[in-house]
């Protein structure tokens, strides 16, 4: 008992440095968190600066230089450091451009799902009763249908494109957030500071906005971060089923899925985007785990 008190006091002290500054300092101390941040930042910068970083147009085909291996293998050149694919497109350039859509889809879908889920979660948790019943039964229904099946059906119908993909990924995964926000809301609602807000005479809307929401948001951010990782992988799986990003857009999932035919013969076509996904997911999860440690005292190690 005493020990936790003491450590929490030492963290008190630390927090005096200011919220963000101290977050940053804590980030430096967590090596995995730091690695995660670096990876995520690097990927983001890569996505933003793609036109300046990539040597080639990602859609530029060159039938004469198909399936060139990466530079360190026989036949590879520094002109295409990571080789070329079956249409002679530069794998490195495609990976660089692919980061744009992979991250865009991952992040936007999570934001969309988060907003919907947050809204319904707060209503279900705070107002309870019939609202809760309706929302939670809907959540149950969604949860009972595997995510990927859900998406498969919708995408088969709407046709896959970046906006529909975001819409579908977001529209089917909001339930996770709704569930989480609801249960957090239920627990926050019982805290004394919410009681005291009611005792002060604050209206429901104000209580939700100023008392419940800010205290729910940290767990929310953690889950959301981790879900960015799942979404990137999910996009790859949808590509496998032919319902992911469609050319001429490039995403890692698409590259990986397209390249699977070449795994046995020209491994680089699928492996490099695979590594890109793995590293990004790794980074995002590290960052998410670190955020969990910092923001969510309940799950704190």
């Amino acid at each position: 008992m005493t020990t936790t008190l003491e450590t929490s006091q030492s963290s008190l002290n630390r927090k005096k440095k200011g919220r963000f500054k101290s977050l940053f300092f804590r980030l430096l101390k967590s090596k995995t968190g730091f690695v995660g941040l670096i990876i995520v930042l690097a990927m983001t910068i890569m996505a933003i600066l793609a036109p300046y970083l990539a040597m080639y147009d990602p859609a530029k085909t060159n039938i004469m230089s198909r399936l060139l291996p990466p530079f360190w293998l026989e036949g590879g050149t520094m002109e295409h450091p990571l080789g070329t694919d079956n249409l002679g497109r530069d794998v490195l350039s495609r990976i660089i451009y692919g980061s744009r859509i992979s991250l865009l889809v991952g992040i936007s879908a999570v934001i969309l799902a988060g907003i919907i889920g947050m809204f319904f979660g707060l209503i279900a948790g705070y107002y309870g009763k019939l609202w809760d019943f309706i929302i939670m039964r809907t959540v149950d229904s969604f949860l009972a249908i595997p995510n990927i099946l859900f998406m498969l059906i919708i995408l088969a119908v709407l046709g896959p494109s970046v906006p529909t993909l975001i819409l579908v990924l977001g529209g089917t995964s909001w339930v996770v957030y709704a569930r989480m926000v609801r249960s957090e809301t239920l627990s926050v609602k019982e805290r004394d500071y919410v009681r005291s807000a009611r005792a002060i005479g604050a209206k429901n809307f104000r209580i939700i906005a100023k008392y419940v929401l800010p205290n729910v948001i940290s767990s929310f951010i953690v889950i959301a971060t981790l879900n960015v990782a799942s979404t990137i992988i999910l996009e790859a799986s949808l590509s496998f089923l032919g319902l992911g990003i469609q050319s001429p857009d490039v995403s890692w999932g698409l590259m990986l899925s397209d390249g699977r035919e070449y795994l046995a013969t020209s491994w680089w076509v699928a492996t490099f985007p695979g590594i890109a996904i793995t590293v990004t997911v790794l980074g995002v999860i590290f960052l998410g785990d670190w955020l969990r440690d910092v923001l969510d005292p309940k799950i704190k190690d």
Binding site: R19, D192, S196, A197, R198, I200, K210, P214, N215
Partner: protein, 333 residues
């Protein structure tokens, strides 16, 4: 002569009347209620609160004292009964009326670590009631907040900080400042000092006393720690399993407890003086489960004076001596 009379009148001015207050909780098992049982957390309370006094309410866990506090504050809906405050019935108020009534009725919670919103600065927390009731804004708000924070012994430099940057005692001061912001008439202190270290507890008790004098406050002081209650209260009520078993002026209660439970409770408190080391007059057994209280007088299974009547008949809560209420078939003394 006149002076004395006036003094008595002031003293006797009732600010709150609680009548036949009941709160029953349905305990449900599983998701759909079927096997439910009723917990009579508060089961027929009657008492008055006088203006300017501190009414202490003590009792052990499960006696319903915290529920009582929440009922008075309108944070819980009463199952039955009335709470007249300023001649209006809190138990019957609409949400909107309640919101307005809360300007006169405030609360200080037990756990200083959970009663302040961790995402708001101290300034926001203390100013919140004024903003909510649109009493002050801008410069005016700041001035009021500054005044409040000084009133509870904290400094201006602490306004921009967040609750976690404070120690337990300091947080409790912030909580007090927030409660004072609306200049309420009554403050419910729900175990306000129970979670604090001894040395800090003393600081807060002194502060509460000082503020009462300066601001003409009425306290309803709910606690399980008898010494603290005795220190601050003018009158004290003792609760047991949802019922008030005894209510009397502080010294009267301590010197001449009429209910066997009160007597035993007082006797159980360890005295910080080894010379007064004693063999306790122990009460046998445990506190019964509130969902299944004993028949008749709830205390009878643990009472050494219990008779057949106590098992059958629930004792009436009555004023045996002037200003001394008790619910017992066989009062002591």
């Amino acid at each position: 002569m006149e002076v004395v009379k006036e003094k008595i009148e002031i003293e006797e001015k009732v600010i709150m009347k609680v009548r036949n207050l009941k709160k029953h909780f349905e305990i449900t098992k599983g998701y759909i209620k079927k096997q439910s049982s009723t917990v009579r957390a508060v089961d027929g309370l009657n008492f008055d609160v006088y203006e300017g006094e501190t009414l202490g309410i003590v009792g052990e866990s499960g006696c319903g004292k915290s529920t009582t506090g929440q009922l008075i504050l309108g944070l819980l809906d009463a199952t039955e009964g009335n709470i007249y405050f300023d001649s209006k019935d809190i138990a019957q108020m609409s949400q909107e009326e309640l919101r307005k009534a809360r300007r006169d009725l405030q609360v200080i919670f037990q756990d200083p670590y959970s009663s302040l919103n961790p995402r708001m600065t101290v300034e926001e927390i203390i100013g919140e009631p004024l903003v909510v009731h649109k009493i002050a804004s801008g410069e005016q708000l700041r001035k009021e907040v500054l005044e409040l924070i000084k009133l509870v012994g904290l400094g201006e430099h602490q306004l921009k900080r967040y609750p976690h940057e404070f120690s337990g005692g300091q947080r409790q001061r912030i909580g007090i400042a927030r409660a004072l912001a609306l200049r309420p008439k009554v403050i419910v202190c729900d175990e306000a000092v129970s979670a604090l270290d001894v040395s800090i507890q003393a600081q807060i008790l002194n502060l509460l006393k000082k503020l009462q004098k300066e601001l003409d406050l009425t306290y309803i002081f709910i606690a399980h720690g008898l010494p603290a209650v005795r220190h601050i209260s003018t009158r004290i009520g003792v609760m047991y399993l949802g019922r008030m078993v005894e209510l009397a002026d502080r010294d009267e209660l301590f010197v001449k407890p009429l209910h066997p439970y009160t007597h035993a409770l007082l006797d159980s408190v360890p005295i910080p003086d080894p010379k007064l080391r004693k063999t306790h007059q122990l009460i046998e057994g445990e506190i019964p489960n509130p969902s299944n209280p004993p028949s008749g007088c709830h205390f009878h299974p643990r009472c050494s004076f219990a008779t057949e009547r106590c098992k059958q008949e629930s004792p009436e809560y009555r004023e045996i001596l002037p200003r001394h209420f008790v619910a017992c078939h066989h009062p002591l003394h």
